[in-house]
């Protein structure tokens, strides 16, 4: 599991994250929600080991600070909000960069075809030969997810669970691909891995998250199952917006919920 105790992060003297307690368990999708600027991404960066923090982060029973980048990379993969590429790599070459650490977990001979399998998973079959920079924003986001999946292809390695850190994984995706990506995340958890995802869509969060962490001004405002956390009061407090949970629109205004998807 991943456990964070009393984690604080200050950037340029300004405290962005203050005393957050957090835990992500194998088999579960943990969603971090909160308004813009509430410290979600900063907290995930601390959890990834790329940002200095105070407090304790324990990854699979080891202190994160005592682990080398190459060791951390075996236990978790990170999908950032946006990735810019500086040279004209093909899609396949980008996805293959996920294998740099060399612990995808598949049998030695299977690594060669892994980029194609990962691309198929994110519904990008046949994109391998395209140039990354020519793709649309949503397609690029899915290429990056394919790369991240290659890094931790098997959710469990050497008996230890591995984790996917996803920072707004569906932010530029259409509804079909939002569902595909969230299903991949849930499937990764069902097979023994763990997922930590920053999400903005509360309906998707309610549908896919096992546990919600709501952040507000750098602090943890609430934590628990979607049923417990997504209440009128909490949403008003955290998002500063008066909304009511479970209310249908009046009259015949159409509305579409991801939960209505038929597979």
């Amino acid at each position: 599991m991943i456990e964070a105790r009393d984690v604080s992060v200050a950037i340029a003297g300004k405290r962005i994250v203050a005393g957050v307690d957090f835990a992500a368990y194998p088999g579960e999708v943990a969603a971090i929600v909160g308004p813009n600027g509430s410290g979600k991404t900063t907290f995930l960066m601390a959890l990834s080991g790329e940002l200095a923090y105070t407090g304790h982060v324990v990854l699979n029973s080891r202190d994160l600070l005592a682990m080398k980048p190459v060791e951390i990379a075996v236990h978790r993969a990170v999908l950032p909000q946006a990735t810019t590429l500086s040279f004209p790599f093909t899609v396949r070459e980008v996805v293959k960069l996920g294998l740099v650490g060399g612990r995808s977990g598949v049998l030695p001979g299977e690594d060669a075809r892994l980029p194609e399998r990962a691309l198929a998973r994110v519904d990008l079959d046949g994109f391998a030969g395209r140039f990354y920079q020519e793709l649309s924003g949503g397609e690029q986001q899915r290429v990056q997810l394919a790369r991240v999946l290659c890094q931790v292809w098997t959710p469990v390695l050497d008996g230890r669970p591995r984790y996917l850190f996803l920072d707004e994984p569906v932010s530029s995706l259409d509804i079909k691909h939002q569902l595909i990506i969230m299903t991949i995340a849930r499937d990764f958890a069902r097979r023994g891995g763990g997922v930590v995802a920053i999400l903005h869509d509360l309906n998707l969060t309610a549908m896919f998250a096992d546990r919600i962490f709501a952040m507000h001004r750098g602090r943890l405002a609430a934590t628990g199952s979607p049923r417990d956390v997504l209440s009128d009061d909490l949403i008003e407090k955290v998002f500063d917006c008066r909304l009511r949970v479970g209310v249908l629109p009046a009259g015949n205004v159409p509305f579409v919920l991801p939960q209505s998807a038929v597979y």
């Binding site: 190459v70 990379a73 075996v74 040279f87 060669a112 030969g129 140039f131 020519e134």
Partner: protein
Amino acid sequence: MVDQSIAGPVKGLAGASEGDRSGRARIVILLLCLGLVIAVLLSLTSGASDASAVNVISVRLFGIVPDDAVLSARDSLIVYDIRLPRIILGMLVGAALAVSGAVMQGLFRNPLADPGLIGVSAGSSLGAVAIIVLGATVLAPLTAWLGTLALPLAAFCGGLATTLLLYQVATRRGQTSVATMLLAGIALAALAMALTGILIFTADDRQLRDLTFWQLGSLGGATWTKIASVGPIIVLALAAMPFLARGLNALALGEATAGHLGISVQRLKYTAIIGVSAAVGASVAVSGGIGFVGIVVPHLLRLLIGPDNRYLLPASALLGASLLLLADAVARTVVAPAELPIGIVTAITGAPFFLWILLRKRGVVDL
């Protein structure tokens, strides 16, 4: 940033996966090896003198004694003590400059980064000129202690100081701003050149002539002694660079993502900077300012085999070595029996090429 000519799906070789250019890269590297052999033979046989390399080689290797023994001794001298060291030095310098360019571009995540462009070469020059001008006076203890290593070491330190300074100025919180890098490079180069100018101002006539030719860039002074002093530095630096390839590939996704993939980014950056400074410093020390090899060679190769550094770095070394040999062959023969500084040849072909890159990228690339 995508070149129009290479847009569209990339087909691999027969049997390879689509988008996988590694097979093509291997073939290109094989062809480049062949090209280098041809360039070496061409350089060995061409020059102001009519010395026959074929004769010399047949004497040395196969013990065939030619009809005219006197002529043979002269030829042997020209081929063995003039052309051969010059060829070896040319290969070392060409490879060092091209690979340094590729590594810098990977490090700064920009295809326009080049040791000559961003002041690294100017810093190396400053170190080298300091030794040339002050070596007999102020720095005499240093030159006495280090001997022939003084010049390359001073050039290395100058290049290293410039690169480190540049990196500190241009990098904020793990992101390197390319605009800042180019501007800081211009400022650092100007500063280094001004300091070099002061040194030149104090130089005597004989030193002045040496300096002028050295600054224009030339492989003319190649001797076995020079190779012995800078060769090991360049070979070591070149040997270390392939270990950076995977890290540089990951770095194309950004420093944070490279870290997520398990790369020790800080160590990668410092190894790259020290390697580049050593290679460029050693090259500048022996051959002066030879420009544009570091930018033209990797760019051409990226069009051919893609940006994967595992292939780009060795291919750059091979093509850089071949191109410099050809440029030197041109420099030696075009105004024979006089000799053009090779820096003029590379600049006169490289600068228009550089402009052409900029034109093609106009509107698509943001600096």
